[in-house]
């Protein structure tokens, strides 16, 4: 059993209304000193069997086509020990 994590974030130059809302809420709740907040998606994929280079390539493909839209989002893939 292995876990691969795909993080999907809006590209830096793209407006992130959700992150903006959080950034504006924080000071109101007394949390100072946060310059910016971006909110993205985190996908945890549980694989049965272990992570091979080939499966990672497949996952990157899925991240690019299904989990994100490259026009507005960037993604990163990493393996996580469980």
């Amino acid at each position: 059993m292995a876990r691969v994590v795909v993080d999907v974030m809006l590209k830096p130059e793209i407006l992130d209304p959700q992150g903006k809302a959080v950034a504006q809420a924080l000071p109101r709740l007394g949390f100072a000193g946060v310059a910016d907040v971006r909110q993205g998606k985190r996908f945890e994929l549980e694989l049965d069997g272990d992570v091979t280079e080939e499966r990672l390539t497949q996952i990157r493909h899925a991240a690019e086509t299904l989990l994100s839209n490259p026009v507005i989002e960037d993604y990163t893939v990493h393996v996580e020990e469980v």
Binding site: P17, Q18, K20, A21, A25, R28, L29, Q39
Partner: protein, 223 residues
Amino acid sequence: MRVGVVTFPGSLDDGDARRAVRLAGGEPVPLWHGDHDLQRVDAVVLPGGFSYGDYLRCGAIARFAPVMSEVIAAAESGTPVLGICNGFQVLCESHLLPGALIRNDHRRFNCVDQELVIENTSTPWTSDYEVGQHIVVPLKNGEGGYVADEATLDRLEGEGRVVARYVGDNPNGSYRAIAGVANERGNVVGLMPHPEHAVEELTGPSTDGLAFFTSVLRAVVSA
């Protein structure tokens, strides 16, 4: 009879809630999220909508609005409070009601005329209904799935705090088809469907929703 309707940034059904109060014979009082003031109202409605865009989590940011400290205090002292849709989400985020509301299981926003069965008529918001009465009111949300842990759900059922349940196909994956719940005391009720949109033949699927608002007027008088 003064019924306050809170407007948060992004509230949408506040005008409809005020209209429903008026049609029920009450005096609607607009309340502003930024004021620490309930203007001596006898009951409070937290309306539907997308407060703060429903960004982060539905109701998560509205919960911290200044007016909410007064609403929470009033709720704890027994003032009738009704949270509709987004208002229900705010009440859960404020821990005035147990559980939480998550994305519909089919993952789509869903606007339908929904059949409900009223199971608890001892709350100030439902006293004009009969136990077991079926009503049809609009349901419209993207995050209406009611969830809570088994223990909580059992307690809600055991204490008769399930106020309304969905009839027929579960429209959003709510655990045990729960459409609305009440707090221990019964004065705080949260409801996903929109009774305020079923108060006129002309614009609603029925007028079944009006009784929520006539109930509270009666309750407040006799209180």
